[in-house]
């Protein structure tokens, strides 16, 4: 009944979500108001293999400090069917091939699911947290739209 296919749709959505937050900066001022420390907030996908985390994040057995802060991590936590976006499954869309304008690709309507993500932020200072949150929230009013090439073969 089913044939094998894998377009990395979930993976690409996870990457797209992560890319929203991968360039957040923190700047710390000195007493006269001049920036004297700026850095990019480290971000990573939360779930990982235990042994890989140990080998890459703590290659030496004895680590002198606890984890360094601030950090952000994100995680794909839920998947729910969204009937409100469902259209009839016999409807099709067509996509002309760029290389050969004489043929087209045809696809059936996708099935609507909502992916739920969680972004976690851990900072040592209140000020760091406020800087991070303030750089994120204005972009979501309440949604932020981005175009992602999820299925390359049909340009979807």
């Amino acid at each position: 009944m089913f044939e094998y296919f894998y377009n990395e749709i979930f993976r690409r959505t996870i990457i797209s979500f992560g890319s929203l937050f991968n360039n957040i900066l923190i700047k710390q001022d000195d007493s006269s108001g001049n920036v004297n420390n700026q850095f990019k907030v480290p971000l990573a996908y939360g779930p990982t293999q235990k042994f890989l985390a140990r080998v890459t994040q703590q290659p030496e057995l004895s680590k002198s400090t606890s984890l360094s802060l601030p950090r952000m991590s994100f995680e794909f936590v839920g998947l729910t069917y969204d009937p409100s976006r469902k259209v009839t499954q016999t409807q099709k869309f067509k996509k002309a091939l760029t290389s050969d304008k004489t043929s087209i690709h045809t696809g059936y309507m996708p099935v609507p699911y909502n992916m739920e993500f969680e972004l976690a932020i851990m900072t040592k200072l209140n000020d760091d947290m406020l800087q991070i949150v303030e750089q994120i929230l204005p972009y979501f009013q309440p949604a932020y739209t981005m175009s992602v090439n999820l299925v390359e073969s049909i340009g979807e």
Binding site: S16, N37, F39, E60, S64, T65, K124
Partner: protein, 473 residues
């Protein structure tokens, strides 16, 4: 008088005896730790917190380790924030020793608050585990007033959570406790504690080498863009008319330019116009100037060519050299007898080598292949950067601290930068006077951080061509 006057409830001589016995025991059975007072550099008002602290002093003192069975169970955990160590220790130090020995070393110094007792927020370097602990609580009433006095402090400590604090004590083992990201070479990557930037510095470069061919009859001298066109979202292919039988068809490549706003075709911000057409092979055997067309997703671009005899042929890079920067691409010169000298331009890769040599003018009237010379890279790098010294960018004025200098490969790991460095500027060490030119800056991808990896993957799938041409709402 409430107490019996015929008994001494803790005379100074008895108290001193106990203190001396405790001091002696601590020096026999203790561990030599380093006490590192926190210096309050910048404090936030209203939201009360110290946003910048320095630890540039470390004083040895004997301490009795109360954790005789280790730090405790499950002291390393894996959370969504990566590996987290949660070791805790309790240390007992002598009250008298602290007041007589450490207090004089700290009191009256700038930015040190309270020097007459150990205080929360200061650090303890524990040499046996090579760990930095932060004092979370100081217990001063255990044992409880034996002979009416306290003799020891018990320091409850937790492993330090690091956030780019300066740890510069001049005690090598402590300063090295903050783990670097780069090992002894570029290929060795460590876990890394600090939020660092890696600056690729050049100073000792090698000059690139190339050879050039020769075309005696009917080579393309140059291609001139007569209409820039518009709407190109990628560099179009340049199609040149096929050379007559026995000749060689020329090959060229086009580059785009942004910011041609007059053209409606470029309403989409990623669409651009044609800037220049470079020859990579002037071809041979043409009897008339070949036509030039562009094959791409834009429209309107047009170009013409001219041909001539005795032009240069294909330029082949035989050695890409090293130490070049994109900001100061080297000049290319052709030496040889000619009516019109050939000219070329180079492209520098992010690794600092010459990746392409494009012919802008193939010359005219050469009788043999000229010699091509590429200018040497700027070789002005000297010295060795010192750990924790301040480096400054010569033109940007940006300063930062050195965490690690890997001479092999010219990688300088810096932290606490106050801005961005500019590629091409000189990076100068304040203490060492070492000076090198900046080729590129990047955030190292080790340990927990995966920002660049996510960025790289996202660039391949996020479709910026579908941006609203009328601007974002």
């Amino acid at each position: 008088m409430a107490l019996n006057p015929f008994f001494l409830q803790g005379s100074p001589s008895e108290q001193n005896l106990i203190q001396d016995l405790i001091n002696e025991q601590l020096r026999m059975y203790g561990v030599e730790v380093h006490y590192m007072p926190r210096k309050f550099i910048t404090e936030n008002t209203v939201i009360r917190e110290v946003i910048e602290s320095n630890f540039d002093e470390a004083h040895p003192i004997e301490a009795y380790l109360e954790n005789f069975e280790g730090y405790g169970d499950q002291t390393t955990i894996l959370s969504k924030f990566g590996i987290q160590s949660t070791q805790e220790i309790s240390l007992t130090i002598s009250k008298e020793r602290f007041e007589a020995y450490l207090t004089p070393l700290m009191e009256g110094k700038d930015n040190i608050k309270i020097s007459n007792r150990p205080k929360e927020g200061d650090l303890i370097y524990f040499p046996l585990g090579d760990r930095l602990f932060e004092i979370k609580f100081v217990e001063h009433e255990k044992p409880f007033y034996q002979l009416q006095k306290g003799y020891v402090y018990t320091l409850k400590c937790e492993l330090f959570r690091y956030e780019n604090e300066v740890i510069d004590t001049d005690v090598a083992e402590i300063d090295d406790a903050i783990q670097r990201t780069l090992g002894s070479s570029d290929s060795e990557l460590l876990g890394g504690d600090a939020m660092t930037t890696t600056l690729k510095l050049v100073g000792v470069g090698t000059t690139a080498l190339a050879t050039v061919g020769y075309v005696s009859d009917g080579g393309i001298r140059m291609i001139s863009v007569t209409n820039r066109g518009g709407g190109y979202t990628y560099n179009p292919d340049v199609k040149i008319s096929i050379a007559p039988v026995g000749g060689t068809t020329g090959v060229a490549t086009a580059e785009r330019i942004s910011g041609i706003v007059a053209c409606e075709l470029n309403a989409n911000p990623v669409a651009e116009s044609i800037q220049k057409v470079f020859l990579t092979n002037p071809g041979a055997g043409y009897t008339e100037a070949p036509a030039v067309r562009f094959a791409g997703d834009g429209v309107g671009a047009a170009a013409t060519s001219i041909i001539g005899d005795g032009v240069i042929g294909i330029v082949t890079i035989t050695g890409g050299g090293s130490g070049y920067t994109t900001a100061t691409a080297p000049a290319v010169t052709f030496s040889g007898s000619a009516t019109v000298s050939a000219a070329a331009t180079v492209r520098v890769s992010s690794a600092g080598t010459i990746s392409h040599i494009y012919i802008t003018n193939a010359g005219l009237g050469y009788t043999e292949a000229p010699t091509i010379t590429i200018a040497a890279p700027n070789q002005t790098g000297v010295g060795t950067f010192q750990k924790n010294e301040i480096v400054r960018g010569s033109s940007s004025g940006t300063t930062a601290r050195v965490l690690n200098w890997v001479a092999n490969g010219g990688s300088l790991e810096i932290y606490r930068a106050d801005g961005d460095f500019v590629v091409g500027e000189q990076i100068v060490g304040a203490a060492s006077s070492a000076s090198y030119k900046l080729a590129s800056a990047s955030f190292p991808e080790t340990g927990f951080m995966a920002n660049e990896e996510i960025e790289g993957e996202a660039d391949a799938i996020i479709d910026f061509t579908e941006r609203n041409p009328f601007g974002m709402p």
